[in-house]
């Protein structure tokens, strides 16, 4: 009972202080917002609703289907239908359209024979992104082509590959960001938690009270668990709103994975807090963890592409395991039991860190 009272006392105190620390409070909401929009939009190469015009000199069932396909992709909006390629060029020249589609009269024959391009895209190549869109659109037409003839299985696969790398950027990044942001904020908040008390002189009073080390640690961690969960909701919610990132898996699984990861990061932060003597040192140590986490965890570069030594280091980082968990749950709809290896790894890291933190923290000044 007394123990609970003391844990709640520390928790309440932490929350009160937090609510008065505008900077930290702002970081809780601000970091997810800024990072998500920055990362999301910066890496997002999905361009939509480009102005376009078309010439359909074939006007067959096939050509109309091609136009319908392109329309459905929402990449282009056909604002004009003109009669000759020359008119398309004029529109391009004047900047009224970014892309023109020319379907020649012998379109059907070209598609069936497949030896030449069936239609032509006229692209404003000054903007590399639009050029990229044009190149991607070419594969749409080709995919349509191969489907029709079912010439080779390779062609069919090409169609699928076309969509994936495209959508992957935003979709893959958002769940990854959950882990990155949690690492950044959770470790940092707790890393300074005890150091701050030491710097401000509060610790000398605190360690002279009957509060036990474990109570102190738990009381300090608990408020941030809630804050971490709020961040998860913000990131996944915004990811869904802004980038249509789906949540395919069970929400409870997301909760468990997040809870586990948050607790691991908080323990890591506490361990840093017991090792550092100034807040500045604590921040440096946080970055020492944060940088390799971002680089090696599979957030930036594909895990399998890294050399073995980097992969081994990555296995020690909580973010690596969480990335696997959250991507699995959110994108593939996997359930958490099927990834018990990563769950166990996180549990192990957390236990080690928390034990070390409690061991290292001494209720004495020497």
């Amino acid at each position: 009972m007394k123990s609970l009272l003391r844990i709640f006392a520390i928790m309440r105190k932490e929350l009160l202080q937090l609510s008065r620390d505008r900077l930290t409070f702002g970081m809780i909401v601000g970091i997810p917002l800024i990072q998500l929009t920055l990362f999301g939009y910066a890496i997002n190469t999905d361009v939509r609703n480009l102005r376009a015009a078309l010439v359909d000199q074939a006007d067959t069932h096939l050509s109309r289907q091609l136009i319908a396909d392109i329309n459905a992709s929402q990449v282009l909006v056909f604002r004009d239908r003109v009669d000759s390629p020359l008119q398309l060029e004029t529109l391009l020249d004047s900047g009224q359209i970014a892309i023109g589609l020319y379907i020649p009269p012998d379109f059907d024959r070209r598609v069936i024979e497949g030896d030449r391009q069936a239609a032509q895209l006229m692209v404003d190549g000054t903007d590399p992104i639009i050029l990229g869109v044009g190149q991607r659109l070419t594969s749409i037409a080709m995919g349509f082509d191969t489907q029709r003839r079912s010439a080779s299985p390779a062609g069919l696969l090409e169609v699928r590959n076309y969509y994936n790398p495209e959508r992957r950027s935003a979709v893959n990044i958002v769940p990854g960001l959950v882990g990155v942001i949690l690492t950044m904020t959770m470790v940092l908040f707790t890393a300074v938690a005890i150091v701050r008390e030491r710097e401000r002189g509060n610790l000398e009073l605190l360690i002279n009270t009957p509060v036990r080390t474990t109570e102190l640690m738990l009381g300090k961690i608990a408020p941030y668990v809630i804050i971490g969960l709020i961040q998860v909701v913000i990131i996944l919610g915004l990811g869904w709103l802004l980038f249509q990132v789906p949540l395919r898996g069970d929400r409870l699984d997301v909760l468990w994975a997040s809870l586990l990861f948050i607790a691991t990061n908080l323990s890591l932060g506490l361990f840093i807090s017991t090792s550092a003597t100034t807040q500045f040192q604590a921040m440096q140590m946080t970055f020492f963890i944060f940088l390799p986490s971002i680089l090696l965890s599979g957030f930036m570069f594909p895990f399998d592409g890294m050399p073995e030594i980097a992969r081994n280091i990555a296995e020690l980082l909580p973010l690596t395991h969480f990335n696997r968990l959250i991507r699995g749950i959110v994108l593939r709809g996997a359930d958490i039991q099927s990834m018990s290896r990563d769950v166990l790894a996180l549990l192990a890291i957390m236990t080690v860190m928390l034990t070390l933190a409690i061991r290292r923290f001494s209720k004495r000044l020497d």
């Binding site: 009972m1 007394k2 009272l5 003391r6 709640f8 006392a9 520390i10 309440r12 105190k13 009160l16 202080q17 008065r20 620390d21 401000r200 002189g201 509060n202 610790l203 000398e204 009073l205 605190l206 360690i207 002279n208 009270t209 009957p210 509060v211 209720k363 004495r364 000044l365 020497d366």
Partner: protein, 316 residues
């Protein structure tokens, strides 16, 4: 006195920080209900000794029992029964007065009903009612100090350690503060208070003078005056400066302290008639002045023990 009546019983406490010997061979015996003073200049080891007695620092050598508990091995048990007011304000500046006291009450796990009444009682006892919703950071020096004392005695400790509690407090507040301390001592609380104010030291029942980590004298303020082995001759001279130079030239004089137009000259007991010695020395130099032997003040004691120590150390 029986050892069991001693609230603090320390033998040969030493504490080093690397090469620095912060506290050397300090022994203490403080009976129940006493206000015991630690007088000493900056860096003399007052805080370090207090921290060892609270169980916050492990002594390099020596033993200490506080309330019968060994500070090395039973410090957790000890913490329930002692209060410690740190030299630096150590409550939370970003919490209000009330929140700070509530937090301390909860951390000491004081039972629910009692908790509230105790906090309210302290707020009114320490004249903090109006400040209850104010952040600690914005309190004045005197208010902070009252809050810190309130927090230190909230759980009604039997032993109270106060480390320079009245630095940055005006004389009126200091007097009020000491009223509270006397009240607590009457109720049986033992208090160890460090200071470098003579007038405060004067109020203590018992006193130890610390100098460079060594306890150089102890006893009641009055006893200490008798112990110093020197007499004090006071000179009121028109030209105090010249008088001081004349005194400094005398080899018998241990020290000269100037207080405005008055000079306090310390002369070891080995000189039979100190006032005569001073008078003839002044006459020789044609300095007019009133010369009188006076009882030693605590300040003289302080100067005597620290000067003599200094000379001993130089000789060694």
């Amino acid at each position: 006195m029986n050892d069991r009546d001693l609230v603090v019983n320390a033998q040969g406490l030493c504490r080093s920080f690397g090469p620095v010997k912060a506290v050397r061979d300090v022994s203490l015996a403080i009976p129940r209900g006493t206000i015991y003073g630690f007088l000493g200049p900056n860096g003399s080891g007052k805080s370090t000794t207090i921290r060892m007695l609270c169980g916050l620092l492990t002594p390099t050598s020596g033993e200490a029992r506080v309330l019968g508990l060994d500070v090395r091995t039973q410090s957790e048990k000890l913490k329930q029964q002692i209060g410690y007011m740190t030299q630096r304000f150590s409550l939370y500046e970003d919490l209000t007065v009330l929140e700070n006291l509530q937090f301390i009450a909860e951390v000491y796990a004081i039972a629910g009903k009692h908790r509230k009444t105790r906090v309210e009682q302290l707020l009114s006892d320490f004249d903090l009612q109006e400040k209850r919703r104010q952040r600690a950071a914005t309190l004045s020096g005197g208010q902070k100090q009252r809050l810190a004392l309130a927090a230190a005695i909230l759980h009604e400790p039997k032993m109270l350690f106060l480390d320079e509690p009245t630095s940055a407090v005006d004389p009126q507040n200091r007097r009020d503060f000491w009223e509270i301390l006397f009240g607590l001592a009457e109720q049986g609380t033992t208090i160890l208070v460090s200071t470098h104010y003579m007038d405060e030291a004067e109020r203590c029942h018992q006193l130890a003078i610390l100098h460079r980590g060594v306890k150089v004298a102890d006893g009641s303020p009055r006893d200490l005056g008798r112990q110093i082995g020197a007499s004090i001759v006071e000179i009121i001279a028109d030209d105090a400066n010249r008088a001081r130079i004349a005194m400094n030239d005398l080899s018998e004089v241990a020290s000269v302290t100037q207080l405005g137009v008055r000079l306090r000259v310390m002369i070891p007991d080995s000189i039979a008639q100190p006032a005569e010695l001073v008078r003839s020395a002044l006459q020789e130099k044609h300095i007019e002045g009133h010369v009188e032997q006076v009882p030693p003040s605590l300040e003289d004691v302080f100067v005597a023990v620290t000067e003599m120590r200094g000379q001993e150390e130089q000789a060694a």
